[in-house]
Amino acid sequence: MPTPQPFVQDVSVASPELTSFNEAQRLAEMEKLSSDYTPEYTGPLVGDLKSSRELAHEYVGADPIYVTKTSAMYPAYTHYRKIRGDGNCAWRAIAFGYFELLLRSNSVDVVNRERARLRSLGNLLKAADIRDYLYEDFATDTDSVFQVISTSILEEDPNAASALLTQFNEASDSSVAYLKMLTSAWMKSRPGDYEAYLETSVLEYCSIFIEPFGVELDHVGVKAFIDCLVIPADFRVEISYLDRSPGSEMNIHHFESGENPYAPTLRLLYRPGHYDIIYKAEDLSELVPFLDKPQASLVQVSFMPHLPDQFFESTPLNFFLQPVNSVANTTTTSIRTNDDRDRFRASLFQYPPFQPSPLPFQTSIFRNSAYNPSHYQSENFQPELYQPELTDVSSRGGHGSRRRV
């Protein structure tokens, strides 16, 4: 929380006797940050994974509501990915998130199933009498992303994530163009699902808001795109709205079929006019491939993205793994039991981020350092590991609530 500012309303009327020149300049910068925020037009179409604290930094001097909300994002959302703000951000964010979940599924079957589904959606375009050369290049480029994903999975490529990013950035315009055509055809094939939300006909809506390249996607369009691409793949979408509405946390909107409570989630951050992708720690340390077997038996284990030892017969990380019940935890997550063991791949790519156990180190220097995962400044912050009886409560609380002044 920033210290109370007497002149946040209008810098131009702040009288010089009340505030120093530096202060006025600082306020002017704050004001500018807050009112002039526009998404970047440079940089890659889809950016690298970054710590979400960088996101909070963008708002350090901005509107207090933004400051509160972005500060509250971390550590719940540990990472984010910036999408270029060129009008196609919603398309790119959702499409990339979808491909990323496919990669994380680590199942060639899932990838092939989706690949086939998208190909068959292409028949809607044929049925709509669109000349095939108008979309076949787009379809081929989109297909190349699927190809990269299944190759990565088959070859257990440790650099799969960056291969996907590179390929997607290469094929991004084509993919967006193709997915726009598919979404438009999708909406036209079931107008009843969307008409009620529109002031115009579905036909006219698609021609103005879906088909043109670089036009911002509104809420109905986002829903249609998610309905068409993401939900049938058995994924969920969660959009967090970062706006000036009252409250200290973002409003979250869910899109899901409701059929699979364990469906992997694609998370988006919405700032007025712009979408980025955000991640929870568990999204990035997803160890166990979700498989298209909803009936597989499940077992509850601790939140720590460590698997019970028996899952790792020969891993150098064993040293760090804690017995399941020794980790203090409140949250649990579900993983599958032995019947999926054969399909579990202990490749480098699948390992969780390095998570040192807090237990062997109990010096105050360690506890107060950023290497302690129970410390909020840790890259791998794990609030569940926070153990009040081992930590100086008052000093930690002081850090936590006053870190952005």
Binding site: G87, I130, R131, Y133, L134, Y135, D137, F138, D141, D173, S174, A177, K180, M181, I208, E211, P212, F213, G214, V215
Partner: protein
């Protein structure tokens, strides 16, 4: 990307040659540069511009088909939707980046341009004075159109 756009342009060109639209001829200026086209429009019967032959340049951006072509009249024309300057640019509807669809074809652009010779779009005019005259003083408008056609758009 650019090999994709070239492939796309080649296919569109083939289609245009197989099925030439009436009143329009369009082809690249040279075989070595498929991104610059010469276009000739003749106005449909019933149009105020009937009898005129209009030459245009069509330029495809390297990002085609993700960005729209640009269209410029090289023949002077008195029209609410064509800028009355040395550029003679026409920029409305699908020719605007925010309205352009990657599935639009060059043919659609040409047909739109020809359609505007039949019926100017005064609500989206670039020359508002000409649009006002079209709405309020049709006789004066027609007179200038005819005069300009006689001076600039008659094929010898």
């Amino acid at each position: 990307m650019s090999s994709g756009s070239l492939r796309r342009i080649t296919k569109e060109l083939t289609e245009l040659n197989e099925n030439p639209p009436s009143g329009v001829t369009a082809c690249p200026i040279s075989d070595s540069d498929l991104y610059k086209w010469n276009v000739t429009l003749t106005a449909p019967k019933g149009s105020l511009y009937y009898g005129g032959v209009f030459h245009l340049n069509l330029t495809l951006p390297s990002e085609y088909p993700f960005k729209p072509p640009t269209l410029n009249f090289t023949t002077k024309i008195y029209h609410p939707n064509v800028s009355n300057d040395d550029k003679g640019s026409m920029c409305l509807g699908i020719l605007r980046a925010e309205n352009w669809k990657p599935s639009c074809k060059i043919l659609a652009v040409l047909e739109m341009a020809r359609g505007l010779l039949l019926e100017p779009n005064v609500d989206d005019a670039v020359e508002t004075n000409i649009a006002d005259q079209y709405k309020n003083d049709r006789a004066g408008f027609e007179k200038t159109v005819k005069q300009w056609i006689k001076n600039h758009a008659k094929e010898k």
